[in-house]
Symmetry: C2
Subunit: 374 residues, 2 copies
């Protein structure tokens, strides 16, 4: 028998934690009282088992639960169901970590490009990378295309739609992608430096597929998508059907309280195929702890069987004057995403963006951080 | 201009709540500093606006935010993005309610059958309905089919797969659906009473579609699906492509997001097409407050433009001896789902199930609750 280990953080009274752990094990496997099970094979091979229970702060425990991998088979959606299905309905249970044997990892291809693929695309083998966002939504296509050109002329590597930009009347998808691809091609001819426009894919699976085809036909190589919004299973299908794209995962709707941020942004999106993962940076608008952000980046880049590393992309209230601090913290296998802070001086967008690009390029990493993990 | 109102519950110091509210409005629309916006039209027509801010308990506020519906257009995934995208990343913000104008409601067809359609299918115009679950997973197909037959002979209306039953080697989907459809047809011939088997659909969109085709070809009329697990957008596509099915929505993985239970289970799944919505009952294994459960049922059944009512299905640790209490509380437009409690005496499953069915059928609702809202 093969088992995976799911680790949950559970708030509980000390005298109830064993029962809580047993309840999670039941809920994440057979979901019925043991006395309702007549078959010894099911008790032995299917019912999840409580492993270690360790204190994790006042009134809180880390609970390991071993889940039979045969309950997952080869279905990626069922994998989510079995590690955090009904247990997600308790508001004092968080999915904290997963240890996955090869029988589960083999379900997944992971990123098709990952850090090494992104570096190859950008012809940037070593340095940290740069990402800018076209915003606000509401701008018309010529304005967006002009902003895209400005960012590319300033030397930004990847220029993405703001994640609120969809197919609204003021910037229809097909027209926008066409215009932005042309704008970026112009800029690349002028600078001689690779740069890529990443349109936002959002919709039901049918819409995602239609727009992916439009983007592919326009020569798009990088796309933005919010996996927790479209659903991890739909994201996986898209990656599988359009493996040529570099997928930049956006955290919209991810509301990560019940799944630990390093697990969700660093490993689950990676497993499902994200080449780069945007997450909200410490000290920005969202107040994630610095340690979580370090853990997200570590999880995204750590060796993990055949699963390629994912590029960490801190974002969310990033400021130009924090570039050196953030590069020191995250190291070179990182793409910094600066959004609104490039735009706050409307007449100096290109200058601010050039400063961003130049400071990232000029930064010398401490020796212990240099070199790519890709 | 048309606006929807999203209401958030926000934990905040009193002197910071106005800034928090403004930050949510920014995050859920333009997602950049106002000074970065050069166009008066965008400030006027696109930037979300803070409405009422009301105290909602110690350190907690109800914040209304008016969001421009043109930011959504006609894209159901973008609807989720605009009402709870980045704001979901703050762990002290919960999406509590939505007031949607017709321009948004018109994106959605809602349930294709709803309460009236389910009652017609079951030839049960007035009484409360019954639902049983085949569990535990791990049982082989002949055992599952036998259990399905037993439940149907005992008179249960809808007999569903446990939500952990997928396509595992021990009960492959196609073989299981074929066998359970035959088992239920046998029972229906014997009893003369309609009964339906609801197989569980789980997987990426491609897998969902493949299995839906298999189920449809086998004559299946009711299916189980977890919308928050497969993703609401993928669920919507499936409902649209297979409108003949009655969709019974399962709450698995739903707790991973921070959306008020009445809104999520009562209204969002309804909007996206659930004909019946399973939710965890008060006093059961999950400890939802009774008031929330009442609010879920009310939200599922309340008149709502052209959107048909959804059948509320309380579940999760339901006990035979609570039937009368629960019917009194929920009223007749309800389907009670009893799972493990029917199975705890392995030799008396049929008897316990018959008792369930008979007590539901025999119950006389207080006058003020009688009559269907469908």
């Amino acid at each position: 028998m093969s088992w995976l280990t799911a680790t949950y953080l559970v708030d509980s009274e000390p005298d109830r934690i064993e029962a809580r752990a047993a309840a999670i094990a039941s809920e994440q496997s057979v979901e019925c009282p043991l006395e309702a099970i007549g078959d010894a094979r099911i008790i032995e091979d299917i019912v999840a088992r409580v492993g270690a229970i360790e204190p994790a702060g006042p009134g809180r425990y880390r609970v390991d639960v071993r889940i039979a991998t045969q309950t997952i088979g080869t279905n990626p959606a069922q994998f989510i169901n079995m590690v955090f299905g009904n247990a997600s309905l308790w508001d004092n249970v968080q999915l904290a970590d997963l240890a996955l044997p090869s029988s589960v990892l083999d379900i997944f291809t992971g990123p098709r490009h990952g850090i090494a693929g992104i570096r190859a695309l950008l012809d940037a083998p070593q340095r940290a990378l740069t990402n800018a966002a076209m915003k606000p939504q509401g701008m018309h296509v010529p304005e967006l295309a002009a902003l895209c050109r400005t960012f590319a002329l300033a030397g930004v590597d990847i220029i993405k739609d703001d994640h609120g930009i969809d197919d609204q009347w003021y910037s229809p998808f097909a027209e926008r992608v066409h215009a932005c691809q042309h704008a970026i091609a112009d800029a690349v001819r002028a600078t001689g430096k690779p740069a890529f426009y990443a349109p936002n894919l959002i919709g039901t699976p049918r819409t995602l597929r239609e727009r992916a085809r439009i983007a592919r036909d326009e020569g798009v190589r990088v796309v933005l998508i919010a996996p927790m919004l479209v659903g991890l299973p739909a994201f996986l299908d898209l990656v599988d059907e359009f493996p040529g794209f570099v997928y930049l995962a956006h955290p919209s709707h991810a509301g990560a309280r019940r799944i630990a941020a390093p697990l969700l942004f660093g490993r689950l999106t990676r497993l499902f195929g994200a080449d780069a993962a945007i997450f909200v940076n410490y000290g920005g608008r969202f107040g994630y702890p610095q340690s979580d952000c370090g853990d997200i980046a570590d999880a995204a880049r750590a060796p993990w069987a055949h699963i390629r590393p994912t590029l960490p992309v801190p974002a969310g209230g990033m400021l130009l004057d924090r570039i050196e601090e953030l590069l020191t913290f995250y190291g070179p296998d990182t793409m910094l995403l600066i959004g609104g802070n490039l735009l706050i001086e409307r007449d100096a967008i290109r200058e601010r963006t050039q400063a961003f690009v130049e400071r990232v390029a000029a930064f010398r990493f401490p020796a212990q951080l240099s070199g790519s993990t890709a």
